[in-house]
Amino acid sequence: MSRRTITELARALRAREVSSRELAAVALARIEAADGELNSFISVEPAMALAAADRADQQLARGEGGPLTGIPFAHKDIFCTAGVKTTCGSKMLAGFIPPYDATVVSRLAEAGIVMVGKTNMDEFAMGSSNETSFFGPVRNPWDPHRSPGGSSGGSAAAVAAGLVPAATGTDTGGSIRQPAALTGITGLKPTYGRVSRYGMVAFASSLDQAGVLTLSAEDAALLLGAMAGFDPRDSTSADLPVPDYAAQLGSAVAGKRIGLPKEFFDAGLEPASATAVREALRIYERLGAKLVEISLPSLALSVPTYYIVAPAECSSNLSRFDGVRFGYRHEGAQTLEELYKKSRGHGFGAEVKRRILTGTYVLSAGYYDAYYLKAQKARQLIADDFRRCFADVDIIAGPTAPTPAFRLGEKVDDPVQMYLNDIYTIAVNLAGLPGLSIPCGFSAGLPVGLQLIGPHFGEGPLLNFAHVYQRETDWHTRLPPGAAVGAPSGAINGGIAPEGAPTGAPTGKPR
């Protein structure tokens, strides 16, 4: 099998069936072969990857290392990597080489992960389709004419296509969960504060959270265990112990209560997606969980609230890109004001500029109360809805996105339509809750995601819910057409890339 989970690869590494160097070489070869079309990577680092793989092999040879040692991996290009270009999908940072690692990067490196490259993304994580990247759109492995979602679209496409078994992402309004849903993989956005934001280029500081895109909940649990935890360099990181998420998997969900917000199943949800989600919920019911209808009455406020709060924070966060200490500097500037205006005007793309302008507007004199303060109050209402619901249910479930992957270019001219794509994911960020998306079926050959939402710091039970579902179903093992093309034959277990999953009507059934 060509697309294997971290758990499987770790077993093979430990059994000496394959070396980390071989895995890195396979990943590099697959990227080389497939990424011309997918465009999921912004940079690839063969020498660094092979060196890290060799170190991992030495560790493994000594019987050392953990479950992540030697696993090929990609970081979303929003995480600063010392000595490695970090672009954030922007012309502004096209030549930026950070002299420091993000905490997520250093923690995963310590866990032995082998970074092969940095993945494409919407510029500064602002987008839901990966079309705002300065480095061009990413294509969805399930249909190259469609978007993989965004903003972590490069990570999603690379994992779905089997180029790497997992990658980091960031989720400000759905940027992990929505692309995971649209590419048929698992995407976890932890509780705000669970994972350090240090070294992660900020979009909206009170919403941004790092997470992972993987092939299974089990892999997500392994990675989260390595990434999570208190970081003295991030004031907003929670000083709480990190449970052994992987060890907690497999407990029964019988008797647990799953809340289904009625607002998640309204007219905006594409019918085939609705069917797939309902099918998935029936599995839980069969496992003894109880489905409870709940209501999040303020959910409708979440998109406008988000599009005030996030741009406001972004307008300020992105002021540091002024052409002075790092980043793009326009050479034609005669005055300081020109230096600012031209560097920023030419260094940022259209969507980023729109959000900076929106944010500047809502914070400006005379509008603060009407927009920003109002949004902060609405945010409280949204968070209250969840607090109330979690008093009664263990987990909340629903769709991740209103539709499966849309066509590239379809929404690019209508920002509001694009924003509405995040209707089911955004409230989770506003409330700071953990959420994940797992594949639960297909709509006209395109993957559909089931979203699970937990209470603050409830990643353990959340991952368990996803894991028990993945034990019962095989949606997460379905391969896009042409996944892992270009895998050197015989590279892993002599395996040859299979043809991939059927692209027609959903055929996946519970095992």
């Binding site: 500081s205 300020s316 540091r320 200490r325 004199a365």
Partner: protein, 478 residues
């Protein structure tokens, strides 16, 4: 009709921490450009602020010293504007919910009158870097070493009515922050500076006039000059039928004038909002009690104690308590020479101050130490040396160092207290001045001064003056 001046000050005091308010970079003054600017200070992408505990402690200390309320919950906000010495494009400051609010400070003027100033708030913020506009071939050069240095901004109500009051208030705050050990008060290095909000109104009216804000005044004299200039300018504008424009101005000490800074002022809209990278600062009663317990003795208390404990006059006590370093110096002398308090006060406020002023030194840089002065005072107290000769010893201590005893011995300045020896000198002088002796005995007792002078001269100043007086009188009457 006369005019009344209304002044409010915004004082910026750099807090004397080792590291910056939100980063672990050093705050030391005078380093090579940009060598003390770390990733956080430079606003590198993704790096985050973490608040320095000492900064909070210092702010609370200040709040307690002015009897202010300490906010149980205060928050940081971003003040957004573009300037090259502001790396992130925003300054982390406090806007709503500052850490300290509503305090009061009494001030005394030189004429003995006193008043009190309401301190509306004192908030924490980060300093900006420095821009150099000269010597870079048409470029502006940016040094970000100062960026992120902790500041406490102390905002007064418009309670001052003259430049003198404003200066007295600023001096009082300066004294206080130095007493508290929260600011080094070095105005030349910019550690302590203020913005003056000045307006004028017709005497007898209640409504405030339009004010101007004169920025970055880094000496008491500049504050005084700038206010004088601004008041005169505003009155002139108003009397000629003009209007005051609310604006930011800069004081130019070379021309002794303020001028408009429209370039910086233009289209200011700071878009304050709570900084999402920082959480609310919560301060509990136990923390406040802990800081309270660490509070140093403040100027008034010290002054009162100097009077009560050491028997000093109020004027001497006030002079010594003016700065915490001087007060500590005084106490070190008294510790080393018990019972010398009054004498020590005279010497410090007299000879020592004169010497320091002459050499342009601060007390910390004094060329003689408290132990050295104490050594000298002990010899005055035990009559080893006269007060007059002690001045010579002091000068030698100042210029050459050493200790009083060695100098006294080496220079042969030991006071003559042997009655026989003194009598011998007296006899010689009386014999040489029979006329004056006769005058005295005829009732012109004033002439004794002349005779004492002759005796002191004959003893090279070493005869104990009290003994001389006593023996001389006895001989003249005898």
């Amino acid at each position: 009709m006369s005019w009344e001046t209304v002044i409010g000050l915004e004082i910026h005091a750099q807090l004397a921490t080792r590291s910056k308010i939100f980063s672990g970079a050093a705050t030391a003054y005078g380093a090579e450009p940009n060598t003390q600017a770390c990733l956080v200070d430079l606003g590198y992408p993704g790096v985050l602020p973490v608040l320095n505990a000492e900064v909070v402690r210092m702010a609370v200390k200040f709040g307690l010293a002015i009897g202010a309320s300490i906010a149980p919950r205060s928050i940081f906000a971003r003040k957004n504007y573009f300037y090259p010495d502001l790396p992130k494009g925003y300054q982390i400051s406090q806007y709503e919910l500052p850490i300290v609010h509503d305090g009061r400070l009494g001030i005394e003027l030189e004429d003995g009158s006193s008043t009190s100033v309401h301190i509306i708030r004192a908030h924490l913020e980060e300093d900006a870097g420095k821009s150099l506009h000269e010597n870079f071939a048409g470029l502006t050069a940016i040094d970000l070493n100062r960026a992120g240095t902790p500041l406490i901004e102390i905002v007064s109500a418009p309670d001052m009515r003259s430049a003198r009051e404003a200066v007295a208030y600023m001096k009082k705050i300066h004294q206080l922050v130095r007493y508290l050990g929260i600011c080094d008060g070095n105005m030349q290095e910019g550690s302590f500076r203020c913005d003056a909000n000045v307006s004028v109104r017709r005497t007898g009216t209640d409504q405030l006039g339009t004010r101007t804000e004169t920025k970055n005044l880094n000496s008491f004299r500049f504050l005084e000059r700038a206010i004088h200039y601004e008041v005169e300018r505003q009155i002139e504008v108003l009397e000629s039928g003009g209007k005051i424009i609310q604006e930011t101005r800069l004081y130019d000490p070379d021309r002794d004038e303020t001028r408009s800074m429209r370039s910086k002022e233009e289209a200011n809209d700071y878009r304050y909002f709570p900084d999402p990278d920082l959480l609310p600062v919560l301060i509990g009663a136990d923390f406040i009690a802990q800081v309270q317990a660490e509070m140093p003795e403040l100027p008034e208390a010290k002054r009162a104690r100097f009077v009560a404990e050491h028997g000093l006059g109020t004027a001497d006590a006030a002079l010594l308590a003016a700065s915490i370093e001087l007060a500590a110096w005084f106490e070190a002398v008294v510790m080393a020479a018990p019972g010398s308090a009054k004498l020590a006060a005279n010497w410090i406020n007299g000879e020592l101050m004169a010497a320091l002023n002459r050499d342009g030194l601060a007390i910390e840089a004094s060329r003689i130490s408290p132990a050295q002065l104490a050594g000298l005072l002990r010899r005055i107290m035990d009559d080893t040396i006269s007060g007059k000769l002690a001045k010579q010893v002091f000068e030698l201590l100042w210029s050459e160092g050493g200790d009083a005893d060695t100098i006294i011995d080496k220079q042969g300045l030991r006071q003559i207290t042997d009655s026989g020896a003194i009598e011998a000198v007296i006899d010689k002088v009386l014999a040489a001045n029979p006329g004056q002796v006769a005058e005295y005995r005829a009732g012109k007792t004033k002439v004794i001064g002349f005779l004492v002078g002759q005796i002191m001269k004959a003893s090279a100043g070493k005869a104990n003056p009290a003994q001389v007086n006593e023996l001389l009188k006895r001989k003249l009457q005898g």
